[in-house]
């Protein structure tokens, strides 16, 4: 948990800086803490110092397996682009509003998406830094219409009330279960420690996560 908090305060400072600077390089804030520093280093290694902006720039993002081109200011966050913000934004039918914005500064997790297999706060990563990476949103999980184990168990256990936090929790747990199919309660708590549920449904989300883990553990079932 200490690690998690360190991770979070680190990214808040960093992101205030990058947003203020308006252009340039940014790192991903990783939800659930422990990988935060690794991932920042990685981002720098990949994107290293290339200058764009300050006006709107065209960029192509790989979202749920499809390349989409938008024109946005370099300071635009990944979550805003996904949700249809920009000078030439995603069209209303292409925009993905499943992931929400609850705080826009890395403290609620409503915006959680996966980038290259890791859960990140979509509000803490600039869209420009997601270029060339694989972005997965909650809409990308069940494209065939079949719910994943964690989605199914969230429904079974009534793991939500208003549901505004739900997509974020689903993504944090999906990232966890792709890393570890059968996590412990503590690992579940850690994985969603960057997600807030104001309606107070954590006990049910934990129950759902552990039940999904059991489904994953059972042979002949595919991952989260």
């Amino acid at each position: 948990m200490d690690q998690e908090q360190n991770g979070r305060s680190f990214v808040v400072t960093r992101r205030s800086f990058i947003k203020g600077a308006g252009a340039g390089v940014a790192g991903a804030a990783v939800v659930g803490g422990s990988a935060a520093i690794d991932s920042n280093t990685e981002a720098e290694a990949q994107g290293g110092g290339q200058r764009i902006g300050p006006g709107p720039v065209r960029m192509t993002l790989n979202i749920n397996g499809v390349n989409r081109t938008v024109e946005v200011e370099p300071r635009t966050t990944l979550i805003n682009v996904l949700r249809g913000v920009g000078h030439r934004p995603l069209s209303p039918d292409q925009a993905l509003t499943g992931s929400k914005v609850g705080c826009d500064r890395g403290s609620c997790g409503a915006c959680t998406v996966m980038v290259d297999g890791k859960a990140v706060y979509g509000c803490m990563m600039l869209a420009a830094d997601a270029r060339g990476r694989k972005i997965l949103t909650v809409e990308g999980l069940s494209q065939t219409g079949k719910l994943t184990a964690i989605q199914q168990q969230m429904v079974e256990k009534d793991g939500y009330q208003c549901g505004f936090c739900t997509p974020g929790f689903v993504m944090s747990l999906t990232a966890l279960m792709r890393r570890k199919a059968n996590p412990t309660l503590d690992e579940v708590k850690m994985a969603v420690s960057g997600n807030t549920c104001r309606c107070g449904t954590y006990p049910r989300i934990f129950e759902a996560a552990l039940a999904a883990a059991k489904m994953n553990a059972a042979p002949a079932r595919k991952g989260a």
């Binding site: 609850g102 079974e156 969603v192």
Partner: protein, 759 residues
């Protein structure tokens, strides 16, 4: 004897034209939810129909609506807690590329009364540009002295918060019963303490706001609201009548009492959209939400409480001050006491104005504050009397349902494990057990409509303008007709959250379910009656001889072979089908007001760091007839978690020197997260067992109080939680954290006061 009949509306086809007619049907037995054991769907653990939408991201909230050419709104907010606006220049903002509209919300000469008060609003093509623009607006302020502290504001020499009222101390009130001074003198045991319940913020995860679109003089509003038709009526002021406004709330991300009106953002967004000639989305930023929106008022109370040697609560003398902020200084609960009444009592109360934001209902307005203050006082006096706090309460209160809930809660939590003498646990990590109680209305009234529509193809739709704050409204809109018509859940499509579906209902006071569910029931009953007439005609029987059996089969009582399958029956309907709208007046017996509820908590206090950990918490809640057990339990669980946050984390902090709010965010205004929330969900079924000492988690019991009537429970679920945690901490360490919440610094200060040799 002539059978009694009543008239209901129906549709018939005459000469090829559909016509609405009144038909006579026999008056059946009074409406009833039926024997819970005989029901197929109601009272069970069914999952909600919109669950898959929520887990896939398909559920659409006001903040998710995207319209071509849409702009984004932001507020210009006052950086000062008290000032006069000398001038405002929107020009520099309007000249920024991408800014489409700017409007004033206050005029030069107006007073600002709190940090964060909206002064102007901007709409731009992206939220980033809108933020540039608010920084560009030039506002000249003439600052004034301010006061943000409740106690300081009561000083006659304190700066006056508002020029239109003579004093910051408002709304004096109170009452006296019996010989208070005499009883104080003769009490065998006494406490005299001052307690403070903090000011809290609602923190709905979806902020307040709307997405709006003008078409000529017609306005469509996607609102994050807990009162669809109420918000429609407010926007109607801009459109020349409610007929020109449509409000849609398919889903909304939490309200907790703060989302009844359209708010300043609603006033702004309608103007911005008109001026920009474009749709505008104005969902507040988190900072705007925490600063400019409402809060649940903090309460301070000075309490003298006395009892006789046998534990009879003989006297209470209470002074209460309520922090009403700048715009609403309503006083707290009148009583000054909560649930348990002293024989003689005197209550004096005041609402106090401060240069802080206005207040609004926050989940059981006034109750958690009253409860935590009163419950701390009761436990302090019980300790003086050397009495078990539960026995002390039972000695002074004898409502049988409440006492049964207390006893059940005590058994399940393991009340026997509490410290007999508060603070007597060994070691540095001390365990304690505490309790708190709730009282609430939760009844309904004639308000919302429900229309049930059945088509010749057998499709059933149930419509209501009501919104769902997360309690699972769609499930009961679906399951009540399905139960009545013998259908499966999936056979009924519930459609809610649209202002055109008739009169709606504000979701406040835990009254929604008790108002809407009976309306749906009566509509379903009426639909069944209409169908019975159609079936009777076809089967050559009387309507009262028709019964409904599972799978929606209507058949003649006693000769089941004479019947119609659902599809066959519906095929006989006129092309537009039938519509049923029940009469609420026949439904009043389906709901009742007056629920109780209690919470028991076990905590561990680390006396070296001051950290409080909730080991387990149990909510026991009666709600009469249970519509959906899974969602009812979920409501209680959610109340417990919010209550734990209230008890140990949540605290709106003001800076006395600058008068600013120090924590308008989620980093410093802390909410329960995964590590604070006490662990997994523990489902308990009768006969209830005692939780093990090392068992961790949140347990909920829907207490069986077979009234046969529906009552709401969203609010009572939170009321006793802060009390229970505060008293569990007292039980663990032998001293109360009198100024709430019990953050580590305050726990350590309380422990230090103990070492310092408390009397």
């Amino acid at each position: 004897m002539q059978q009694k009949t009543k008239k209901i509306k129906s549709v018939v086809v005459e000469n090829g034209f559909e016509k609405e007619v009144e038909i006579e049907v026999p008056v059946g037995p009074p409406a009833s939810w039926g024997d819970p054991k005989a029901l197929r769907l109601l009272g069970k653990r069914n999952t909600r129909p919109d669950g898959p939408d929520k887990v896939t991201g398909r559920a659409r909230y006001a903040s998710d609506v995207i319209l071509p050419g849409m702009c984004y709104g932001r507020f210009v907010m006052s950086p000062y807690p008290a000032a006069k606006i000398k001038s405002i220049d929107l020009g520099p903002a309007e000249r920024i590329n991408g800014v489409k509209a700017a409007v004033l919300l206050l005029q030069p000469g107006a007073d600002v009364l709190y940090h964060g008060q909206p002064v102007a609003a901007i709409a731009a093509i992206t939220p980033e540009i809108a933020e540039d623009a608010i920084r560009a607006v030039r506002v000249e302020y003439e600052t004034r002295p301010h006061v943000v502290d409740l106690v300081k504001a009561t000083n006659p020499n304190a700066p006056k918060v508002r020029s239109d009222v003579p004093s910051n101390v408002q709304y004096p009130g109170g009452s006296t019963k019996g010989d208070v001074d005499g009883a104080l003198k003769s009490a065998a045991a006494m406490i005299h303490e001052t307690y403070e319940a903090q000011t809290r913020l609602h923190c709905c995860l979806e902020t307040h706001g709307h997405t709006v679109k003008w078409d000529g003089d017609k306005l469509t509003v996607w609102a994050s609201t807990q009162f669809v038709t109420g918000v429609r009526d407010e926007f109607a002021r801009d459109t020349g009548g409610p007929q020109n406004v449509t409000v849609i709330t398919e889903h909304m991300g939490g309200g907790f009492g703060s989302k009844f009106g359209r708010g300043t953002e609603g006033i702004a967004v309608a103007q911005l959209a008109k001026k920009a000639n474009a749709p505008v989305k104005f969902l507040l930023s988190r900072a705007e939400e925490q600063l400019a929106n409402y809060r649940g008022p903090g309460v301070r109370a000075e309490i003298k409480l006395g009892a006789s040697a046998d534990g009879t609560l003989t006297v209470g003398d209470v002074k209460v001050w309520n922090n009403g902020g700048a715009s609403n200084a309503n006083s707290p609960l009148d009583q000054g006491f909560y649930i348990i009444e002293p024989q003689a009592r005197r209550v004096q109360r005041w609402g106090v104005l401060t240069n802080t934001g206005g207040t609004a209902a926050l989940r059981a307005p006034g109750h958690p504050q009253a409860a935590v203050i009163w419950d701390m006082a009761l436990d302090a006096l019980a300790a003086k009397l050397n009495m078990d706090p539960l026995e002390f309460r039972k000695k002074n209160h004898n409502d049988p349902v409440r006492v049964a809930e207390w006893d059940l809660g005590a058994k399940v939590i393991g009340w026997n494990r509490r410290q007999r003498t508060p603070g007597s646990a060994a070691g540095t990590r001390k365990r304690g057990v505490g309790m708190g109680s709730a009282t609430w209305g939760g009844g309904g009234s004639k308000s919302a409509d429900c229309t049930i529509e059945i088509k010749p193809d057998g499709k059933v739709r149930a419509y209501s303008a009501v919104q769902d704050l997360g309690v699972g409204v769609r499930l009961y809109v679906q399951s009540i007709p399905a139960e009545e018509l013998g259908l499966q859940l999936a056979d009924v499509e519930p459609i809610i959250g649209h202002s055109t579906f008739g009169p709606g209902k504000g979701s406040g006071g835990s009254t929604t379910t008790a108002s809407v569910a009976p309306a749906i029931k009566m509509s379903a009953v009426q639909a069944r009656e209409q169908l019975a007439i159609v079936a009777a005609k076809k089967l050559g029987a009387k309507p009262e001889e028709i019964e409904v059996v599972p799978r929606g089969r209507f058949q003649v009582k006693g000769s089941p072979a004479r019947g119609l399958a659902w599809k066959e029956l519906c095929a006989l309907l006129p092309p537009s089908g039938i519509k049923a709208k029940g009469d609420w007046n026949e439904a009043s017996d389906l709901q009742a007001s007056g629920v109780r509820g209690c919470t028991f908590v076990e905590v561990e206090v680390d006396t070296e760091t001051g950290k409080v950990t909730v080991i387990k918490a149990l909510g026991v809640q009666d709600c009469g007839f249970v519509l959906n057990r899974l969602q009812a339990e979920n409501q209680v669980t959610g109340g417990i978690i919010q209550g734990i946050g209230t008890a140990i984390l949540e605290d709106r902090r003001m800076d006395n020197v600058t008068g600013r709010m120090l924590n308008p965010n989620f980093e410093d205004y802390k909410l329960c997260g995964s590590f604070e929330s006490g662990g997994v969900n523990i489902t308990l079924d009768p006969p209830y067992r005692t939780l093990g000492p090392e068992e961790r988690g949140i347990a909920t019991i829907i207490f069986d109080n077979p009234t046969g009537k529906v009552s709401g429970i969203g609010e009572p679920a939170i009321i006793g939680v802060q009390s229970a945690v505060a008293n569990a901490i007292f039980n663990a360490i032998g001293v109360h954290v009198k100024e709430q919440p019990a953050t580590p610094d305050r726990v350590l200060a309380a422990l230090a006061s103990l070492k310092g040799g408390r009397a």
